[in-house]
Subunit: 287 residues, 2 copies
Amino acid sequence: MTLSLPVSGKTRLFPVVGHPVAQVRAPAVFNRLFARAGIDALAFGLDLPPDSVAATVRGLLASENVGGVLVTVPYKKVLAASADRLGLDASQVGALNALRRAADGAIEGDLFDGAGFLAGLLAAGHGVAGRRVLLLGAGGAGSAIAAKLGQAGAATVAVYDPQARSAQELAASLQPHFARTVFESQPSLKPHGFDVVINASPLGLKPGDPLPLDPDRLAAGTLVCDIIMEPATTRWLQAAAARGLPVHQGRHMLDHQLPAYLSFFGLPELAARLRITSDSITLEETA
Amino acid sequence: MTLSLPVSGKTRLFPVVGHPVAQVRAPAVFNRLFARAGIDALAFGLDLPPDSVAATVRGLLASENVGGVLVTVPYKKVLAASADRLGLDASQVGALNALRRAADGAIEGDLFDGAGFLAGLLAAGHGVAGRRVLLLGAGGAGSAIAAKLGQAGAATVAVYDPQARSAQELAASLQPHFARTVFESQPSLKPHGFDVVINASPLGLKPGDPLPLDPDRLAAGTLVCDIIMEPATTRWLQAAAARGLPVHQGRHMLDHQLPAYLSFFGLPELAARLRITSDSITLEETA
């Protein structure tokens, strides 16, 4: 995507830190927004290695012209552990996807994945209250989504992860917070009896990845959701759609967390002007 | 300046590190070039504080998608001291303006200020062989220019710096390398008897800065050169021009070091296509 951007020494920077980052959609989404709003700011992917990511991110946040850092796979948990302060979602889940430097110099983080995913689902007309949900992946995004499913009153949230212990720990850590929702973990994948299946694992990032779950094993009418954003329609969603199942793309999760990110990064006026629909993000003109 | 740039997670990054960075011209110059050449790369200013700049720059150079780091005031000497290996110019002067990660993981730096300044001066028709030069400022850029003036056979290079010891040390360190050129330092500013005067100090970066030297004190015909790039015509050059003296803008120094930077950053084909004139940089079409 080609954008008209003003880039000078004055430009405010928003690195998107991950490993790898070639797949990240955030730079395109944020830059389109900055360009439309006439804000001299720039988002870009920054691929940092695990051994130095925490120190480098702290160094970047000490910069006068870094407005904040977006965090993606595999650093959502690691950087939550190294932040000075966490917001409620980040603190409950132990993961984050945004960092900023507070006025007192402390590094603050918060988590918007779950809120964005749920808002996107609701905007597409899919409720989760009283529904049975199978969640694939107990990493940063999976944990955030699990917590929000509890807040939204899902009947069941079953968590599967190839690392069975991660799934167990996630279910056990969230259960005390929610009375209406049963959290459970699946030692092996049993995809029967669910209304909604969500891929919150990295499977689908790489072309050669296996499908997170064979769609043939899902009952008719099961809503199939992915959080992988690139490609917009993953092989998994393609296979599910071919089988006649309703699908929900990963892009909605990011689109619908944009207002929260912008407020966190000190741009609440811009956040308030966003109008997000299923296929576009527009900016309401200021009066 | 607004540019059409493709920015995604795949974009190769070239941070321009300094403190402050609002004045840097390098992002605009590099981005225009990348856009014209269709290269998915992006330069931007990054303002880092002194206490963590070395560690943060090393962290950035460990990134998969950082192509290299450009270094500006006040870090040209500090980052030369922390690099693993230096090129000849950087090693002779003890300063650098570019860093890259070598194949073996070592951080390598080199210095292109002096070469760019001299090439720009020659391209504008101003020779320095046999001329008497007054150099204001013994920092990173001043040191680089002084060394190149020696290489180009200037008769005299007199160095003035408010920190008299810096000027003394620079003259003393360079003298052994050059038989044709007399290096000397000025404890107080005596601007008489020079053919060329060069401002290589930071004076002119900030609107309230005093002039590096009152142009009324210069003899008719003295060539007045600045290395400050923003504004293109500094108050000092304005005052000199108003007095009828020939002037030489700071932008030429950067323009003419572009080929060296591009080669250093692994883009020699792009470097070879550059055609630099006094008022434009164009890209020769590939056959």
